[in-house]
């Protein structure tokens, strides 16, 4: 059956067997003062809908670089990346932004919350970008924060929150548009053990209940152990 990769699968016709994303022979190199650095040499793997995948590897092995490619924040130097049935390597910047906003949620190690904005406003940003009107936006953000156990922190600003609380706000923000994929780059890297456990619990629980896939970069064997599958990066190659 020929597949038109330009058109995203519509919910009804999408076969459940199709993977959410597929990277094939993806490479990424940088040129620093005339010298070429090959960071990703050959990455090939796929992630099913609702699957939890841990990406592990030594520091500098290219895990973050790979995640940037998966998140459409960066373009690979070669190879193909099909997300949700769309060959992203051929897409223009505008459509990539739209796909990113609609289909992908990010959780960063350094949270990347907007300073000076309340938790509620932070969670609302993707909804603003998605054109959700104010009142529905507020209601949705509140609902998500309450689900994260932050119902009493709606109007706090990031600097008034603990690290674990900030990451929960970030998680709520990543979930606000119900993405099919959540990308988390060392989400617990800046947190203590207790908060780490709690964040991972919530991330996995929320993802499972929404049938969202998770790709999480981690150094923590405990986290990796909870994933459905582990992808290891060694010298820019997936294993």
């Amino acid at each position: 059956m020929p597949v038109d990769v330009e058109t995203p699968w519509s919910g009804a016709s999408r076969p459940d067997s199709a993977p959410l994303l597929r990277v094939e022979g993806v490479t990424r190199h940088f040129t620093v003062s005339g010298r070429r650095i090959d960071v990703l040499r050959d990455c090939t793997f796929q992630v099913e809908r609702g699957e939890i995948v841990a990406v592990v590897g030594q520091s500098g092995s290219g895990k973050s670089t790979l995640l940037n490619v998966l998140g459409l924040l960066d373009r690979p130097s070669g190879g193909s990346y099909v997300f949700d049935g769309v060959d992203t390597t051929r897409l223009g910047e505008g459509r990539r932004s739209r796909l990113r906003g609609e289909g992908i949620g990010f959780v960063f190690q350094q949270f990347h919350l907007l300073e000076r904005r309340t938790a509620l406003a932070n969670v609302g940003v993707p909804l603003v970008l998605g054109g959700v009107p104010l009142l529905r936006r507020r209601a949705r953000a509140r609902e998500l924060l309450e689900a994260m156990g932050l119902g009493h922190r709606l109007h706090s600003r990031p600097h008034q929150l603990s690290g674990g609380e900030q990451q929960r706000v970030a998680l709520a923000r990543a979930l606000s548009r119900d993405p099919a994929l959540i990308l988390a780059d060392e989400p617990t890297g800046a947190l203590d053990a207790a908060s780490s456990t709690m964040i991972m619990e919530q991330l996995l629980e929320q993802a499972r209940s929404r049938d969202a896939a998770v790709v999480v970069v981690t150094h923590d064997p405990q986290v990796a152990g909870r994933a459905d599958r582990v992808v290891e990066l060694v010298e820019g190659r997936t294993r």
């Binding site: 924040l73 505008g94 932004s97 739209r98 990113r100 990010f106 990347h112 300073e115 993707p126 054109g131």
Partner: protein, 417 residues
């Protein structure tokens, strides 16, 4: 695209609200510049209105000529026909009495009243602002007593206006039918318009009419200066002739009909000064607006500078927006709109400041002088529009460069900060 535009605007407003300090910081130059611009436009508008109102009340609507014929007239009605033929649309005699009469109210006598003999049509040539009563009508020509319209200053002194008499040799009862609003710039303290009519004939022209001329009382007067106000078409070349030669020449072709030999005895000049005032106000406004624009330019540089600095500081924030799905276009709109919002806030502050100053000035001037009717100190709509419009424009200009920088920045690099 439409909702990436609205998203940009929403983010911009939220951003400006969240960064009040930054917003205020970059405002200052714009406040001064926009304030200056609003004041210039308001002052120009006020000057224009004042000059127009003053001019129309005291010198006539555009275009009014003052025509003086020196010498003895043999036929005044022929002259008046010729004034119309030469292009006059409205005309009124404008005659200083040959011998200044006095006014009497009770036992008080006023000898320093400026009298002018006029026709009802002067009301079409000048804007008469009546405080009480009315201007002359054709019916007043039938009046047995001379008919007057006096200015308010005089009316206040006269008291009971029904008991007034006029005279130079003997006292005559007069009818005062109207009181004119005094303006801030009235030249004479006490002034009175006297309707040219059979009843005022002797007072104005100082002649006892010869029996043979009884049918036409205006023929053959002893007055040697005969003045008229003549309103002509403003597009008539005669309206733009600085020495009045065109109109004088037109009259001179038939001046023999009314007994004048030479064109040198005919003096014409334009009395209303709309054109000159316009020119002066335009030059002044241009100069002041130039200064305002320079100030505004300095303000623009301020906003631009703050914009560039903050875009650098906000690389991480802008990259975060991108990661959350903001398109380049949305981000561009957000950054430009932030500058526009900042400038508009500055513009509103300036507008409020100007409003406060102008209102205070209005209260003070109202105590000191009386402005012509219909003229008041205030900020006209045009000033509001120009002020806020230029503020928005400055914001737009100042926002574009930082916005382009914001687009170019790498998302991945921004997130690594």
């Amino acid at each position: 695209m439409p909702h990436s535009l609205t998203a940009g605007i929403v983010l911009a407003f939220a951003g400006s609200r969240a960064n009040i300090a930054r917003t205020i910081l970059s405002c200052a130059g714009i406040v001064v510049g926009v304030g200056a611009l609003i004041m210039v436009v308001s002052a120009g508008d006020f000057g224009q209105k004042f000059a127009t109102a003053y001019g129309e009340a005291n010198a006539g609507l555009p275009a009014t000529l003052h025509v003086t014929v020196e010498g003895r007239l043999t036929d005044r009605s022929a002259l008046e026909e010729d004034l119309v033929r030469a292009g006059g649309r409205d005309l009124s005699i404008y005659q200083n009495p040959s011998k200044t009469p006095m006014l009497r109210s009770g036992d008080q006598v006023f000898s320093d009243v400026g009298f002018l003999g006029v026709d009802p049509s002067l009301g079409d040539i000048r804007r008469m602002h009546l405080a009480e009563g009315r201007w002359f009508t054709e019916a007043d020509l039938e009046s047995r007593a001379p008919v007057l319209v006096v200015n308010r200053t005089l009316a206040d002194e006269l008291g009971d206006l029904t008991q007034i008499q006029v005279g130079s040799d003997r006292w005559l009862d007069v009818r005062v039918v109207g009181v004119l609003e005094s303006t801030a710039l009235d030249f004479t303290w006490y002034s009175a318009y006297m309707l040219r009519a059979p009843a005022s004939e002797e007072l104005l022209f100082g002649t006892s009419v010869d029996t043979e001329d009884e049918e036409d009382p205006y023929v053959l007067t002893r007055t040697s200066q005969n003045s008229y106000q003549v309103r002509i078409d403003p597009t008539d070349p005669a309206a733009h002739d600085p020495f009045g030669e065109i109109f004088a020449e037109r009259l001179a072709t038939t001046s023999w009909r009314w007994g004048i030999e030479s064109v040198d005895d005919i003096w014409v000049y334009r009395t209303d000064y709309g054109d000159e005032v316009d020119a002066v106000i335009t030059y002044l406004s241009l100069g002041l607006a130039g200064i305002a624009v320079i100030t505004l330019g300095t303000g623009l540089l301020g906003v631009l500078n703050v914009g560039l600095v903050t875009v650098r500081e906000r690389r991480r924030e802008l990259a975060t927006y991108r990661a959350l799905g903001a398109s380049r276009f949305t981000l561009f709109v957000a950054v430009v709109m932030e500058a526009v919002v900042v400038s508009l806030v500055a513009g509103l502050i300036a507008l409020f400041g100007c409003w406060a100053v102008v209102t205070a000035a209005g209260v003070v001037t109202e105590r000191l002088v009386s402005l012509p009717p219909g003229v008041s100190l205030g900020i006209p709509v045009s000033a509001v529009l120009i002020g806020l419009g230029s503020a928005a424009l400055v914001g737009l200009l100042a926002g574009v460069i930082p916005a382009i920088r914001a687009l170019r920045a790498s998302v991945v690099a921004g997130l690594r900060e």
